[in-house]
Point group: C2
Chain length 93, copies 2
């Protein structure tokens, strides 16, 4: 009986990482838009994915404003694939 990765089995984080799996990279505002999360919550959950090494975060400046870009890592892809596989087995789909 394989357990689901608890870091991925959370709606906002799953939304973030499964979106990042479909694009090359996305900035903070894009993630805000696709998730309709609050900024605070998004910030916290991105940090958790980053700390786990599932997402790489790059902070630069876009003109004079700070700009945060996120990209899924190889580890993130691997873990997402494994999560989806276990979930499918559990849901019989």
């Amino acid at each position: 009986m394989y357990k689901l990765n608890p870091l991925l089995h959370q709606e906002l984080r799953l939304r973030i990482i499964s979106f990042l799996a479909t694009v090359e990279r996305a900035d903070f505002n894009k993630l805000l838009e696709i998730s309709s999360a609050t900024k605070g919550n998004l910030s916290v959950q991105i940090s958790k994915l980053q700390e786990a090494g599932y997402v790489e975060v790059t902070k630069t400046f876009k003109g004079k404003y700070p700009h945060t870009k996120c990209m899924i890592t190889e580890k993130g892809k691997k873990e997402l694939t494994e999560y989806v596989s276990r979930l499918k087995k559990m849901l019989n789909i």
Copy 2:
């Protein structure tokens, strides 16, 4: 952007209800076995599914011991189907 049903987006409850979707009914011990949860946790999560009307719980006696049987309801089936559908969309599967 449709949110996932938070009652179903929890590993143990999801495991319980997706198992109940595949059988006519299951007793407490069967659910313990398929989930490898603790009895306390299983009891709590079954109650939550029951309170939501997703699972029907019948308490009888089997010989001299109490015996708890669980069965998914129509509402439970409907909600599980909707949950799975939203999840699939989210995961692009």
